[in-house]
C-alpha cells in the first residue's frame, strides 16, 4: 500500500499522467501483454494442440466460412488450419518473453560492461572492448548454434524445450550486448571527466556506486533508445533461430514465426496470415518505443516541456 502511494506520488507517475501518448502506449502494451498471459483463457482455440487442428480448415479467410468445413475464424487460419487470432495470442507468450528477456539480458550485460570499461579504463577497458570485438565477429546464428550445441550435450532429452528458450534468450542477448556496451562506454568516457563525478568521489562514493548511481542515470537515454528499438528485432530474431531448429518447435509458432510463415503467402493472396501478426508486432513495437520515448524524457529533469 505504502509502495503504491509512493508510486502515485512520484514525479514519474505525475509526468506519466501528463502524457496522453504514454498512457495510450502503456494501455496498448499492457493489453498485449495481458492477452498473452491470459491467452489460454481468451483464445477461442488452442493452436498448440495438434490434435485439435483440422488441416481442412487451412487458409480460411477472416470471418468467412471455410469452403470445406464451414468453420468461421475471426482472423482466418494459416496453412495448418490454426486460428490466426488464437495463434497470435499464444505465440505472443513466447515472443514477448524471449524478446523482453533477451533485450534485458543484453542491456544488463552491455551496460555493466560499458560502464566498467568506460569508467575504469586502461587494461580493463581494453579487455572488455576486445571481447566485444570478438563478439561482434559472430552473428547470432552462429552463436545460437554454438550455445545450442553445447546445451544439447548437457540436457536430458525431455528438458530440451525448457532449455531451448534460454538458449534463444542467451544467444540473442549475447549478439546484442556489444551495442549497449560500446555506446555506454563512449558516454561514460565523457561523463567521468565531469566535475559532479569528481564531487561524488570526494564525498566518498566507491567506484561502483559512482558508476551506477551517478554515471548510469546520465548515460541512460541512448540505452533506452537502443533497448526499445531492439525489442522488435529480438522477436524477429527468435523466429529466425527457431527456424534453424534451435528454439520453439514449429507446432508452437511464436509471433515471429507466424510472421515468417505468413511471408510465404505474400504473393498468393492469403494476406491475413501475415497481416494480423505483423500488425500485432507493429503495435507492440510502437507502444514500447513510444513508452520508451516518454520515459527517457521523464527521467531527464530538464526536459519538462
Amino acid at each position: 500500500m505504502a509502495m503504491l502511494k509512493r508510486v502515485i506520488d512520484s514525479d514519474l507517475f505525475w509526468s506519466f499522467r501528463q502524457s496522453p501518448v504514454a498512457m495510450i502506449s502503456a494501455f496498448v502494451a499492457l493489453l498485449l501483454m495481458l492477452s498473452a498471459v491470459f491467452a489460454p483463457l481468451i483464445a477461442p482455440h488452442n493452436p498448440f494442440d495438434p490434435a485439435s487442428l483440422n488441416l481442412m480448415n487451412g487458409f480460411s479467410k477472416p470471418m468467412e466460412p471455410n469452403q470445406f468445413t464451414q468453420d468461421v475464424f475471426l482472423f482466418g487460419t494459416d496453412d495448418q488450419g490454426r486460428d490466426v487470432f488464437s495463434t497470435i495470442l499464444h505465440g505472443m507468450r513466447i515472443s514477448l518473453f524471449v524478446g523482453f528477456a533477451a533485450v534485458l539480458f543484453a542491456m544488463v550485460i552491455g551496460v555493466v560492461a560499458g560502464l566498467v570499461a568506460g569508467y575504469v579504463g586502461g587494461r580493463t577497458d581494453a579487455f572488455i572492448m576486445r571481447i566485444a570485438d570478438i563478439q561482434l565477429t559472430f552473428p547470432s546464428i552462429l552463436v545460437a548454434m554454438l550455445i545450442f550445441g553445447i546445451a544439447k550435450g548437457f540436457t536430458p532429452v525431455d528438458m530440451r524445450d525448457q532449455v531451448a528458450i534460454w538458449v534463444l534468450i542467451i544467444s540473442i542477448g549475447l549478439s546484442d550486448w556489444v551495442q549497449f556496451a560500446r555506446v555506454v562506454r563512449g558516454a561514460a568516457l565523457v561523463e567521468k571527466k565531469k566535475e559532479y563525478v569528481e564531487a561524488a568521489a570526494l564525498v566518498g562514493r566507491k567506484p561502483t556506486a559512482i558508476i551506477f548511481l551517478h554515471i548510469l542515470p546520465n548515460v541512460l537515454s541512448p540505452v533506452l533508445v537502443i533497448a526499445t528499438i531492439s525489442l522488435a528485432l529480438a522477436i524477429i530474431a527468435e523466429a529466425t533461430l527457431s527456424f534453424l531448429g534451435i528454439g520453439a518447435p514449429p507446432t508452437e509458432p511464436s509471433l515471429g514465426t507466424l510472421i515468417r510463415i505468413g511471408q510465404g503467402y505474400l504473393f498468393s493472396g492469403e494476406w491475413w496470415i501475415l497481416f494480423f501478426p505483423a500488425v500485432t508486432l507493429l503495435l507492440l513495437a510502437l507502444s514500447v518505443n513510444l513508452l520508451g520515448d516518454w520515459l527517457r524524457d521523464a527521467l531527464n529533469p530538464k526536459l519538462d516541456d
Partner: protein, 501 residues
Amino acid sequence: ETFRWAGKTDPQTMDPHAVNSAPVLGFLNNVYEGLVRRNKNMAIEPALATSWEPIGEGKGWRFNLRKGVKFHDGSDFDAQDVLFSYQRASAEESDTRSWFAPVSDVKVVDDYTIDIMTKAPNPIFPDSIANWMIMDSGWAETNNAARPDKEKGNFATLNANGTGAFKLTDRQAGLSTTLKPFEKWWDKAEHNITEATFTPISNPATAVAALLSGEVDMINPVPIQDAARIDGKGGTKVIRGIEARVIMLGFGHDHAELKYTSDAGKKNPFQDASVREAVAKAINVDAIRVTIMRGSAEAASQLVSPAMRGYSEANAARTAYDPEGAKKLLADAGYADGFSFGLKCPNNRYLNDEAVCQAVTGMLAQIGIKAELDAMPVQNYWPELRGDNYDMYLLGWSPGTLDHEHPVRFLVTTPNKEKKLGSWNFGGFSNARVDELLPMIQSEIDDKKRQAMIDEVVSIYQSEHAYVPLYVQPLVWGIRDNVTLTQRPDNFFILRWARVN
C-alpha cells in the same frame, strides 16, 4: 533470343564428375553429353553413341559412337575420350563412381566402338549412365584436370568443354553462368536461343517477383502457393508436373527404445508393424494434397512415382485414410493410451516440408500419438539422421536411375557397408527376402520377370510398412508466356528444348 532463367541453387561446379547432385548434372546436361541421353519422356535415346547392344550374354554392352562430333574447343570426339571419361568418372575422387560399380572393364574396340563389361548381367546399365558426361581427354590433360578435384578445385571446376548444344562462355560462381549455342553441334537445334544466362536466386519470393516483373523468363521452383498468382497474371504462367521424388515417413526400426520426449527410454512402438500401419492409416494424404500442396501433388503408394521404371501396378493402392482403424490397431498393439515420440523434419529441403510434418503431427495426434516435431535446416538434418537421433523422420527420395531398383537398394535392403547397400536406410529396416531379391533384380534382363520380383519387394515393404509413402512431390516451374519448353520429371531443365517467341 536471349533467355534468362533462375533456380534456387547454383551448380557448385562445372566438373561433370566431381559432384553427383541434381543442380550440377541438370545444368551440365546442356553443356556436356553422355553416350545416351533422355528424351522428353525420360526414355533413353542415342546421343554420343548412335546405338548399343548387349554383348556376350550379359557380359557387357557395346556402344557404337557417333562420328564427326566436335568438342566446344574444336577437338574431335572418339573412343579415347569415352575411355578417359570412364576412368575419370570412376576414379576415387569422383562422386559419380557408384554408377560404375557394376562395371568390370572398359575396352576400346576401335575409334568409334567401345565395350563396357559388367560384373554381372546389367539390364539397366545404359539407363544408368544417361548423366555420365564425356569430357575431352586432351583438354582435361593439358589443363591438369585429368581427375576431378572436389577439395581444391581445378580448371574443370570453372570451365567446361563438352559436346553439348551450348558452350559455357562465362562462369561466375554463385552469381551467374552464361551459355551460348554451339554452332558445330552434331544435332539439329530445336531452340532459338542466342544466349542464355542462369542466375541462382535463393529466395523464392524474389524469384517470383523477378518472373512477374519480366526480369527472368523462367524460374524453378515456384513456391506452390504462388502458382495461382503467376498463372492469373497476364504474361506469366506455370507449368506443373510430377517430380520423380517421393516423400515418405521413416522409422527407427532398429531402435529398441524411444529416443525423445518424456517417453524416452520406453520400448520403441514403431518396431511393431501394426503401429506403423496405424501411422499409415492416420495420415490423410488427400488433405495435405488439397491444402498444403494446393492440389499439385499426387498420393504415393510406393517408393517411386508411376512414371518410373519398375513401378508396381500390382501394388498401386495406398493404405486408406482410416483414423478409427488406426486407433484400433494401436489399441490392439497395446498402445490404447498412445505415446509420444520425436519426429525429425527438414525445413528447407523439400517443398513445404515443415508444413507437411506439422500436418502429420496433427493427424497423428488425432489417433492419440503425440509427435514432438523438431524441424531444422538440411545441413543439420542429415547428421541427426545419421546419428540416429529420431524416432520418426521425413525423407524424400528421387531415384537417380529412374528405376525402382534404386530406392530398394538404398532404402529397403539391410544396410551393409561392404556391399554398399542400404546406405540411406537410416532406420535399418531389414528383410531377408528383399535382400535376396535385390541382386536378382539387378541382373535380370527379362523385363517381366524383373517386374515380378519388384512387385514382390513392394508387397513386402508395403505390408511391413517399412516406410509410409506420402505423396509424389510436384514440379512447378514458372515461365513467361512467350516461352515454350519441356518439363522433365527429373527436374532437369533442358535448354535446347526451350523457345522464346
